[in-house]
């Protein structure tokens, strides 16, 4: 019997193996599986570097954390959050978000259309010139912005406004000018990236549509309103969404300009508050609670925005 079995095995084994190989290959080649294999590395890094810390942060937000002394304190961290500094930070972050969304959606569309038109020369030069700030170190940019907007009559910004007859301004010490510096810095940094998104969108618009619109007698504005804009809508929604998120999570711009604390908290942002309370003042549980509130805030605002723009509606309804 044993011999027979062995024989059988000898005969059938290679066959099975081949079949198995096929099956494995088939399994990995099947349309249902392949996408998961491709996203697997991302999922892993997402889980380790993002999901785990997030869960940990939520747990920490209910704790008081000191070296060797970690204890659960219920909602005490959350009870302390809603104070003056938090509302100041919330206001600053919201104003910053609205301004950057406004600037970083409208101006890049115009720039992208210019770069896409036949009238402009040296397009590649302008394209890279616009993109370079995104690659610049934010710390270096901060040093330069600080010098440009320094509190001195000789600073570049004061010389420019002096040329138009204005008095020198203490840029880093007024609420309006502090916000202005942050918004200018963000606009300078992210303009090129958004231009690229819109350029890609513009290049997907079929040229025939413009031709037929022209034949119907549409002028420049009508072509923009009825052809360009509808085709750019998904891109606009995307860029606006990431600008909302980026606006709420602003930190670097404020940090490099004021190197920590700003006078009168004019540059305090939500993430800045998280950093100040959690790290600088060693109150990590409280910092984590601010982070969780920020997460909820961004989530709610983004969802509302996406609902309003109809991004959830199915196209065939």
């Amino acid at each position: 019997m044993a011999e027979l079995n062995a024989n059988n095995r000898k005969n059938t084994l290679p066959l099975v193996k081949e079949k198995k190989g096929n099956k494995v290959l088939k399994f990995f080649n099947s349309q249902k599986v392949v996408p998961y294999i491709f996203v697997f590395p991302f999922i892993v890094s997402f889980a380790i570097l993002t999901l785990y810390p997030t869960i940990q942060a939520i747990i920490m937000s209910f704790q008081r954390i000191l070296p060797g002394q970690v204890e659960f304190i219920g909602f005490q961290n959350y009870e302390r959050i809603f104070n003056q500094a938090f509302y100041k930070a919330l206001t600053n972050s919201t104003v910053y978000m609205l301004l950057t969304v406004l600037i970083l959606v409208t101006i890049p569309i115009i720039l992208a259309m210019l770069l896409d038109s036949k009238l402009v020369r040296f397009k590649t030069f302008f394209r890279s010139a616009l993109f370079i700030p995104a690659l610049t170190s934010i710390v270096v940019a901060g040093v330069i912005f600080r010098l440009v907007f320094a509190e001195s009559e000789n600073a570049i910004a004061n010389q420019i406004i002096g040329f138009f007859g204005f008095e020198p301004v203490s840029w880093q010490f007024n609420a309006w000018s502090g916000m202005l510096i942050m918004v200018i810095m963000a606009s300078w940094r992210w303009m090129g990236v958004n231009v690229l998104y819109f350029l890609a969108g513009l290049q997907n618009i079929p040229k025939e549509l413009y031709e037929s619109a022209e034949m119907d007698g549409a002028n420049l504005f009508q072509k923009f309103r009825h052809v360009t804009l509808p085709f750019l809508k998904p891109i606009i929604i995307f860029v606006t969404t990431i600008s909302i998120i980026g606006g709420f999570r602003v930190f670097e711009e404020s940090y490099v300009i004021w190197e920590g604390n700003s006078p009168g908290n004019i540059g305090l942002t939500l993430v800045g508050l998280l950093y100040q309370q959690g790290i600088q003042q060693n109150d990590m549980g409280f910092g984590a609670a601010i982070g969780v509130v920020l997460l909820l805030l961004i989530f709610v605002v983004s969802i509302i925005y996406l609902l309003m723009t109809g991004a959830f509606k199915r196209g065939d309804e």
Binding site: A57, F248, Q276, N282, S302, A311
Partner: protein, 451 residues
């Protein structure tokens, strides 16, 4: 229509990723394992040398410790060390240390901790080694106020880098032009009168006020007051502090003899530039600022005289020990005893204190070296300023005020930075009393809610 919902899904997913990254963003790169591209090593060629790591945030300190390690290796050939000094940006180093001590791994053997950050490391179970066995036998040789800053419950955790005695640096060019003899300025009232003459004669301010703690703490402490009492209760808004802030406010907004420091602080490019051009007659700041003078203000060489602070009518103090870095040994060190021995050698011993002056221009926290002949040897600081720097210090040795730190000192300093000085001096929309009360309440609220 599948494609559309897919694209929306990806937008959502991306949003989620951004949102989540935002929350991780606070700590940012600070949680990454330690690595520094600015590392200096001493004793790497020695066999069986014990390796010690040292974190600092000041390049000048790094050189100082490397030199100290080389002297150590010459004198202690039976127990050589290989000292690896890693230099990080200020915030990053303190953040890294906080994470390392919190998580229980990754901390260095020795570390420089700045004064304003020090209270953060005295919370919870303290992760630093007590230095009492090094300090107590020679306590009398130190200005004790300086050591107390880095202590908690009778334990000393930090080795001071300097005394940091606050003094007034006078620009003699301007004072002569105004016809004021600086030695006639004994009280703060004299200072105000002198300031009026200076403004009248030269059009330049007597001084400038920083809108961070440099602009208030030295004055408050010199009056014998502070932001906390001995029980750790908030006294930020007590009578003396309100009067003191009123005095500072008057300098700027009533007598008009002081202006707000360019850039709002004494360590900015704007300030160095203006000061170097002789834009103000005097500056109240700790002694360690000598290094800043020689480095950033070469044009003032030979024109600066150092004097004690003018007196208040209700206090004898003529100086305050301010600012400064405490060096600590962490409990994660595998060679605690050796690290402590080296620390004593480098910063606490007589020899170490003399080196602090020679190499860094710092006023040593040990007063028993101030008269040492080695201290009187000519160097760039004597050339820049004048010869009797330590005679001045010796004369006021008994009258140096200390400062009191609390777990909530970082909160008070943040309030001073962001609210108090800004709204009182610059915006003038709060009186000193209102501003101090408001901030004191904020800190009390935080302290109260955590008990």
């Amino acid at each position: 229509m599948n494609r559309k919902s897919l694209s929306i899904f990806s937008v959502l997913l991306l949003s989620l990723v951004f949102v989540l990254t935002a929350c991780g963003g606070g700590g940012g790169n600070s949680a990454e394992p330690a690595s520094s591209d600015d590392t200096k090593v001493a004793g790497s060629d020695l066999e069986n040398a014990t390796e010690l790591t040292f974190w600092t945030f000041a390049g000048t300190h790094a050189d100082f410790y490397v030199n100290a390690a080389e002297r150590w290796n010459e004198q202690n050939q039976d127990k050589p060390i290989k000292l690896k000094v890693e230099n990080y940006p200020f915030d990053q180093m303190h953040n890294n240390l906080l994470m390392a001590l919190q998580s229980g791994s990754g901390a260095p053997d020795l570390v420089d901790i700045e004064l304003a950050k020090f209270p953060n490391f005295l919370k919870g179970d303290i992760q630093l080694e007590s230095l009492n066995d090094l300090i107590e036998p020679e306590l009398d040789s130190f200005i004790a106020e300086r050591l107390d800053i880095y202590s908690k419950d009778g334990n000393y955790y930090g080795a001071p880098t300097h005394l940091g005695a606050s003094v007034v640096y006078y620009n003699t060019d301007i004072m002569e032009q105004a016809g004021v003899d600086i030695d006639s300025i004994v009280t703060w009232d004299d200072y105000v009168e002198a300031g009026k003459k200076v403004v009248e004669a030269t059009g330049k301010p007597m001084t400038t006020i920083a809108t961070n703690w440099y602009g208030i703490w030295p004055f408050v402490a010199q009056r014998g007051s502070d932001f906390f009492d001995e029980n750790g209760e908030v006294t930020l808004d007590n009578e003396k502090n309100i009067e003191t802030l009123q005095f500072i406010d008057d300098l700027v907004n009533k007598h008009k003899i002081a202006e707000i420091a360019p850039g709002g602080q004494y360590h900015s490019e704007e300030f160095y530039g203006a000061m170097n051009q002789g834009s103000q007659a005097s500056l109240v700041i700790p002694m360690y600022y000598m290094k800043d003078f020689t480095t950033y203000m070469p044009d003032l060489k030979g024109k600066i005289q150092i004097r004690p602070m003018p007196k208040w009518s209700d206090s004898d103090y003529q100086s305050v020990t301010m600012g400064g870095t405490g060096t600590a040994v962490t409990n994660q060190s595998e060679h605690v005893d050796l690290a402590k021995e080296f620390l004593y050698f480098a910063k606490l011993s007589k020899e170490g204190n003399i080196q602090l002056w020679k190499e860094l221009g710092f006023d040593p926290p040990r007063w028993d070296v101030w008269e040492d002949p080695q201290m009187r040897e000519d160097n760039e600081y004597y050339q820049y300023f004048h010869d009797d720097i330590f005679d001045i210090l010796l004369a006021i040795r008994e009258n140096v005020a200390g400062i009191r730190l609390s777990e909530y000192t970082p909160d008070v300093l943040t309030e001073i930075d962001t609210n108090i000085m800004h709204s009182v001096l610059r915006e003038q929309n709060l009186t000193p009393e209102e501003a101090l009360k408001q901030s004191a309440d904020t800190v009390r609220q935080k302290a109260g809610s955590k008990e």
